[in-house]
């Protein structure tokens, strides 16, 4: 099979690498640094561009990956002339906008209340804003099916509330509920870093609370809000798990699920799936560019020195209302879902009633080799993958923030590009890129996909930690005889350890619960646990898979607890 993408990419990489190496040496970098930067840049370029290049190539070809035939434009004409495609595009955008609005409406006020006011019980509010971040939208969707399905949902049966989660509204509701923590984290970080004297100066000038909030606080945290909203929009546009599990029963498709369905048709329609994937990616990439453009001038530093006191607003008579708001969120995102999942996992068949009870859904996990094996496989993959990804991103983040070498801008830009690649698109791209290679069918393909997709998270989280470390700590090693590599190993890595732990755990959690990139990539021998839950659930195993979802959640929180109390690591992710 001809692979023009591969050979021209290789060629471009090779000459690019040569140019880099030359300019690097001219900038005063040592050979170790030159080699590291060159290799890393080549690796990252390859990780990101190789699959994406193949995806493009695939869109212009007839036939499935690995057996593609002639060049063609048929895929494009078929997809673009199909009115249904544009309905999907529209629906996906509606979901993206709706989720972003809902997540912001929930997350931003929660952040302001916990950071800036004298709200009582802040630790609990913070916890209920963080827990959904770790549990994932997919598990939330499983719970909300029990709560809000139109036939025998708990809400309808016990309280007479007519709800239908099998709808666009349902998808927006569940996704928004579980994306709210992103907005919470971004907003809280910005508020914490903001020097309170800006607000105090506003009060001193005679402005009231509302004026201060809208004229001072809001514009100052706007860049952070926009970054958060872009991320939420991009993730929710490409969300697969929720969309599939809530959309399929109502024959309701989004771009992401359409890609999945078309890839699994008999015979599969990879060509048109690829065009759908490209459509999705073009939208997300355009949005990211729009955000960059909007922020081009407005990225002022909010940090004005450490140790300033954050002024607390007295809530006064609003205290009860604020508490009620926080409790409502905890109830909808944590308490009710947890309750209903536990209930269903202890029952033999789906029912809103209490009883009959059974433990069989739980015991089956420990007696069925297939289930247990899948769970263990997911654990291995997440542990190994997170470790590799942390090592890779630590080096990338270090170079981005510390090196003066000319290639670092390129490295920075390429390493955050995957933010704009939805998981399912990456899955499809990996098929095109690797189906003919010997690694195909092994977990390595999945690890590569995950590392590429979530590299930006590692680079950002570690970058936020690196900028806290005074550059003179490294420079003083260099001056006193330490080579570049020795300095990285003996000074940077140990100082970065807390950041490395918290980034590792973030990546571990993301990896172990990830479904959209895995769903097209795993087959019988490489099945991962979330994919298994998805497939078994769609096959009707609601009760067993409720137990499965809980088991996954328990594992995630056990690991978090181990790090928090065992290694004393701050597990709340940090964002720039």
């Amino acid at each position: 099979m001809a692979d023009p993408v591969a050979s021209s990419a290789e060629h471009a990489n090779a000459s690019l690498a040569a140019i880099f190496a030359m300019r690097l040496r001219a900038s005063g970098a040592t050979p170790a640094e030159v080699v590291t930067i060159t290799v890393l840049t080549a690796l990252v370029l390859w990780l990101v561009l190789y699959p994406v290049g193949w995806l493009l190539w695939g869109a212009f070809h007839k036939g499935p990956p690995g057996a593609a035939e002639a060049w063609t434009l048929e895929n494009f004409t078929e997809v673009f002339l199909d009115p249904n495609h544009w309905i999907l595009v529209w629906r996906s955008i509606v979901v993206g906008v709706g989720v972003t609005a809902l997540a912001t409406a929930i997350g931003a006020p929660l952040a302001w209340l916990t950071v800036k006011t004298d709200l009582p019980g802040k630790r609990w509010v913070e916890l209920s804003a963080i827990v959904p971040f770790f549990t994932s939208t997919f598990i939330g969707a499983l719970a909300w099916i029990q709560l809000g399905n139109p036939t025998n949902g708990v809400l309808k049966f016990w309280f007479g509330i007519p709800t239908n989660v099998y709808s666009v509204t349902g998808i927006i509701w569940v996704t928004g509920l579980y994306m709210a923590p992103y907005m919470y984290l971004f907003t809280a970080a910005a508020l914490r870093n903001m020097d309170t004297t800006y607000e105090e100066a506003s009060f001193m000038s005679g402005a009231g609370l509302w004026r201060t909030l809208t004229r001072i606080t809001y514009p100052l945290i706007l860049p952070a809000l926009l970054s958060g909203m872009t991320l939420v929009f991009v993730i929710s546009m490409g969300i697969f798990g929720v969309a599939a599990i809530l959309g399929f029963p109502a024959k309701l498709h989004l771009l992401a699920t359409e890609i999945y369905v078309r890839s699994l048709l008999v015979p599969p329609r990879f060509g048109v799936a690829t065009v759908s994937a490209l459509t999705l990616m073009v939208i997300t990439a355009a949005l990211i560019m729009l955000q960059r453009w909007a922020l081009r001038a407005g990225s002022y530093a909010l940090v004005s020195g450490r140790g300033f006191r954050i002024k607390l607003y007295a809530l006064g008579k609003w205290k009860r209302l604020a508490q009620a708001w926080c409790f409502l969120y905890a109830l909808l995102a944590v308490i009710l879902p947890a309750f209903v999942l536990i209930k269903v996992s202890l029952q033999p068949y789906p029912t809103p009633r209490f009883g009959p009870w059974t433990l069989e859904n739980w015991t089956v996990f420990f007696s069925n080799d297939n289930l247990l094996g899948t769970l263990l496989r997911s654990l291995y993959l997440s542990t190994g993958g997170a470790t590799l990804c942390v090592l890779l991103t630590a080096m990338i983040a270090h170079i981005i923030h510390r090196s003066r070498a000319p290639g670092r801008r390129l490295l920075e830009q390429v390493s955050v590009m995957p933010i704009g690649i939805p998981g399912i698109v990456m899955g499809l791209a990996m098929i095109w890129a690797y189906v003919t290679l010997p690694v195909w069918g092994t977990l390595w393909v999945v690890i590569l996909a995950y590392m590429t997709l979530f590299m930006p998270y590692g680079v950002r989280a570690l970058g936020a930690n690196i900028v806290q470390i005074h550059p003179e700590l490294e420079e003083s090693s260099r001056v006193h005889g330490g080579s570049w590599f020795r300095t990285f190993r003996l000074i940077m890595l140990p100082l970065l350890r807390p950041g490395i732990y918290s980034t590792w755990i973030l990546l571990f959690i993301i990896f172990i619960r990830e479904i959209s990139a895995a769903v097209l990539l795993t087959t019988t021998g490489t099945r991962l646990f979330p994919v298994l839950i998805f497939e078994q659930w769609t096959a009707g195993e609601f009760n067993v898979m409720s137990a499965g979802a809980l088991l996954l959640t328990i594992i995630m929180f056990a690991v978090i607890a181990l790090f928090k109390w065992g290694f004393k690591v701050d597990v709340i992710p940090s964002y720039r």
Partner: protein
């Protein structure tokens, strides 16, 4: 000679002396901004050269270029007899191969290592034998009186002690050259004075060659063997603290190194060592440093506040330059009184003894010897 300022000042180390650091034609640009512009420096064996200048004048950049932490845009740097940077030839030795020690402004004591490990680091990095390391570390720690704190971490010691750790770490490998970047600026005033003395004593005792950067002219004069005054990326004058203070080469140096009274005027007459200057305000004075001054040239004259004498009007002084003056302002400083005096449209700052106080508005006589009036051409 060699007190002339300007960008082409190369103050040679005395003939025949081995120079330990030579910087020639050093330039460093960040984008379009020139931080260091064609700078030359020589530091002799065992000498302490202090780079002093206002904030942002390029001191740190110069030091970092010497250390190899910054790659200059142009220039040549030699440490001992080894060329460590020569941009034209593509020579750039990385910092770890330059055999230098450096004390940073933030101290940069590694928080994850004990005091002992911090100090042992340079020895391990250059591959000193295991058995030797302990002795050398302990010897150096004794030198800075830290031998009892060897097992502490940086969070468990004070700022002054961290400073000593940084000092010990820079000394332990017996480097060819020691670099200090504002090492005392994070200490409180008392400790700063004490550490200043200690660094100077260590330098005399161990005889290391060093470049010391500070923006504080008092610190510079107290600690330097020689001072290089920098402004906007250029060296404006190099010389001993005494020479710099008493014989500033230009108005910038005169103004930066301590307070001074600057009078603008034109040269009336030039003799061998002295010149007669008529100021814009119309007073005439005799000043030294006339070499290079031409008749009719516009010049400045610098007179230090403590060089001026105040006498009651009825008791005229015997100096060559004597003018009647009016007291415009007097500020009691404890050990002295600072006066502002009006003389023919000029304002003078003068230190007077606190034993004899002149009232505001009173008429006095102001006198100064020509040897304490310095003629400045720039």
């Amino acid at each position: 000679m060699g007190l002339q300022g300007g960008r082409d000042t190369v103050l040679p180390v005395r003939e025949g002396e081995l120079s330990s650091l030579t910087v020639a034609g050093l330039s460093k640009a960040f984008g379009d901004a020139r931080a260091v512009a064609d700078l030359d420096l020589k530091v002799g064996e065992g000498e302490m050269l202090v780079l002093v200048g206002p904030s942002g004048c390029g001191k740190t950049t110069t030091l970092r270029c010497i250390a190899g932490l910054e790659r200059p845009t142009a220039g040549r740097i030699t440490i001992g007899n080894r060329v460590v940077t020569e941009i034209d030839q593509g020579v750039f030795v990385p910092p770890e191969k330059r055999e230098i020690g450096m004390v940073f402004q933030s101290y940069a004591v590694w928080p994850h290592m004990t005091v002992y490990d911090n100090v042992a680091y340079p020895l391990k990095a250059i591959g000193v034998l295991r058995g030797e390391i302990h002795d050398r570390v302990m010897k150096t720690l004794r030198l800075v009186q830290l031998e009892t704190l060897a097992d502490r971490y940086s969070s468990q010691i004070s700022g002054g002690q961290q400073q000593r750790v940084a000092l010990a770490r820079s000394l332990v490998a017996e480097p060819k050259l020691l670099l200090f970047d504002e090492p005392l600026s994070n200490l409180d005033a008392n400790l700063r004075l004490q550490m200043r003395v200690e660094i100077k004593e260590l330098q005399k005792r161990l005889g290391f060659t060093s470049v010391y950067v500070t923006h504080d002219q008092t610190e510079a004069m107290a600690i330097a063997d020689r001072i290089a005054v920098m402004d906007r990326g250029m060296v404006r004058q190099v010389g001993s603290p005494r020479a710099i203070y008493d014989r500033p080469a230009n108005t910038f140096v005169a103004g930066f190194m301590g307070t001074t009274n600057l009078l603008e005027g034109s040269v009336q007459e030039v003799t061998d060592a002295e010149a007669v200057v008529r100021t814009s305000g119309g007073i005439t004075l005799r000043a030294i440093g006339a070499r290079g001054a031409a008749r009719g040239a516009t010049v400045h004259v610098s007179i230090r506040p403590e060089a001026l004498q105040l006498c009651p009007l009825e008791k005229p002084a015997a100096a060559a330059n004597v003018w009647p003056a009016t007291v415009a302002l007097s500020t009691f400083l404890g050990d002295s009184v600072l006066y502002r005096l009006e003389v023919a449209g000029h304002t003078f700052e003068v230190h007077g003894p606190s034993t004899e106080v002149f009232e505001v508005g009173s008429k006095v006589t102001l006198a100064v010897e020509p040897s304490r009036c310095t003629l400045l051409i720039e």
